[in-house]
């Protein structure tokens, strides 16, 4: 069925920034009628769904669990006081999430973490944390997406499927657009996808290289050997014929400007940060022959912003532990999943994130035993486990804020429509919590 274009609107708001993925497309037009969004132009399917949104599960009032285990509506004062007290009295609190909120709210969060000796962590801990470790180990040949659009003639996607999770990545930045040096757009570029599956991205690529799962490290190492002129004795590496690899390395070597994007297929399989280490070194080696750079495909629209904000405030990118009064970062020790797996935290707050969707079941099982708080816009799987729910607003739609694109470019996100009456922005909620914690501290000091 072909849907007709929306004509029944009375206002157009241009140049809005999308609040779904790390592409942060800032060319979105919202169509408004009676101050409500009725349509979205330019956004992808997922971005549009996030902006228009299902209202049946929208959280509209603060909720607290009663004795029967049912959530009950309450006032902001009651919910905030309860949250502040639980947080203040806990020994090992974890503040997790932040990927879908503004840098302004994150800054308030850092202040709370410092005050309460909490662990401050975001979605990097379950997706590209290992990539960040690899950047610290080996380095990061960075680029901006604008460079790719204007210069790249070879684009390689490794272990990522942007057609599904960053739908406009190819059409807006890398493959299809006409660039300054790539006048013919798609025709001027070679796109290669390395993935165990024949993904939607592989389907639009010039070449798909299928390799075995969990053999990423082996594959990248073999590519480095070929690049250095060594020959391989094996006929097949990680399920890929050696001749195909030789061909790939020739294309990469002869590129005028190469851009490599890698996703969770590399950072979440066995090997983790070592896979990314090897991939970075491959890009480093390629720079002896041509210009190559790389980017991780960051998921949420401000997951990169959290890493930048936290690094500038504390010196560490994620998983920062304030329990000793000063920031400490230790991979595998102060990171959320490891803490929960060790059953350590006694308080868990998720801010604009849904651990019910994101965490392994074994990890979630610890949330049964401890107080759990949710600050979010919609009822989700995590709400089923939350003791207190604080309804917030959507950044880029109902609240303004700053977010960082996957290539670390900060973008301002507009407020377009009014928030639901009894919801408040993450920044407001966190400021209120901070003030209440201050009062509790003063009371104790006296």
């Amino acid at each position: 069925m072909i849907e007709k274009p929306i004509t029944d609107y009375d206002e157009e708001v241009r140049n809005c920034s999308c609040s779904y993925c790390g592409n942060n497309c800032d060319d979105i037009t919202y169509l408004l009628k009676d101050k409500k969004i009725v349509g979205v132009r330019h956004a992808c399917r997922i971005g549009a769904s996030k902006i228009i949104n299902d209202q049946d599960q929208r959280l509209l009032n603060p909720l607290v669990r009663n004795d029967e285990g049912i959530l009950e509506e309450t006032t902001w004062d009651v919910a905030l006081d309860k949250t502040a007290r639980l947080l203040y009295e806990s020994d090992r609190p974890v503040l997790y999430g932040w990927g879908e909120t503004s840098v302004e709210a994150i800054k308030k969060g850092i202040k709370i973490a410092e005050k309460t000796g909490a662990v401050m962590d975001n979605q990097s801990t379950i997706c590209h944390g290992s990539s960040i470790q690899a950047f610290q180990n080996v380095g990061h040949p960075v680029m901006t997406l604008g460079e790719v659009k204007n210069r790249a003639d070879v684009v390689v996607y490794v272990g990522t499927n942007p057609m599904d999770d960053h739908p406009r990545h190819l059409s807006r930045y890398t493959t299809f657009p006409e660039g300054f040096f790539r006048k013919n757009g798609r025709k001027d570029r070679t796109v290669i996808t390395l993935d165990p599956k024949y993904t939607n991205t592989a389907k639009v690529s010039d070449e798909w290289i299928q390799f075995n799962m969990n053999e990423d490290y082996l594959l990248f190492d073999a590519l480095r050997m070929l690049l250095k002129g060594e020959s391989l004795d094996e006929e097949e590496i990680a399920g890929v014929p050696t001749s195909q690899l030789e061909n790939l390395i020739q294309i990469m070597k002869n590129a005028e400007y190469g851009a490599l994007f890698f996703g969770l297929g590399v950072s979440q399989t066995l090997g983790k940060q070592k896979n990314v280490d090897m991939l970075i070194q491959l890009v480093e080696d390629l720079n002896r022959y041509s210009k190559w750079s790389m980017l991780p495909m960051r998921g949420f629209f401000n997951v990169s912003g959290f890493n930048i904000a936290l690094t500038s405030e504390t010196g560490y990118p994620y998983g920062v532990d304030f329990s000793r009064g000063y920031p400490r970062f230790m991979v595998g020790e102060t990171t959320t999943i490891d803490l929960l797996n060790r059953r350590e935290p006694d308080f868990f707050m998720a801010i604009s994130a849904d651990p019910g969707v994101q965490f392994p079941g074994y990890t979630i099982k610890h949330l049964i035993n401890i107080p759990t708080i949710q600050i979010d816009t919609h009822w989700g799987p995590y709400t089923e486990l939350a003791d207190i729910v604080l309804p917030s607003t959507r950044v880029g739609v109902e609240t303004e804020g700053t977010a960082y694109r996957m290539d670390s470019i900060p973008l301002f996100m507009k407020k377009v429509i009014d928030k639901p009456e009894n919801c408040h922005s993450d920044e407001w909620i966190l400021t209120q919590l901070y003030e209440r914690i201050e009062i509790l501290k003063q009371e104790e000091d006296n």
């Binding site: 399917r45 997922i46 971005g47 769904s49 996030k50 949104n53 299902d54 049946d56 599960q57 009032n61 009663n66 285990g69 049912i70 959530l71 009950e72 509506e73 801990t125 379950i126 944390g129 290992s130 499927n161 057609m163 599904d164 999770d165 165990p196 599956k197 024949y198 993904t199 939607n200 299928q210 799962m213 969770l264 297929g265 979440q268 399989t269 066995l270 998983g319 991979v331 595998g332 999943i337 490891d338 019910g356 969707v357 994101q358 965490f359 392994p360 079941g361 074994y362 990890t363 979630i364 949330l367 049964i368 816009t377 919609h378 009822w379 989700g380 799987p381 709400t383 089923e384 486990l385």
Partner: protein, 147 residues
Amino acid sequence: MKVMVNTGTSVIQAFYEKKGSTLKDEYRQSAAVAFMDLKDMQKLSLKSRDKIKIKSEWGEVVLYVDISYDAPHEGMVFIPRGPWANIIISPETYCCNVPTYKGIPAEIFKTDEDVLLVSQLMNKVYNKYNLDDDKLTDKPVYKKRMI
């Protein structure tokens, strides 16, 4: 049948997740699905939308089956990210903070059991508040405040 489980984002699952309709059947239909290679499905005489139980070291869950549009990938099953996939994936971080979401060995069996909605699944698997399963539906369950 022994398989390797791969999880990740699918555009349809992400669509319903971001739309915020996670309690509804539309989300279950998009995320509680194991996408299999047709050859693997034939081995277990499975048809599209049949149900399977998938069992790993970490847990078991009932899912729908569908033909993968990313085939060929014999021996590998793709499950979109979500509360169902979470139950069977490995929490092991190998001290690198990222759990192992991809490449988990598992076993699948044909079954007649029901695929649960999010609220029922969370109650059954984690049972934090010991709620009555019959009351949990595709709508949020909460008490309104009397003013």
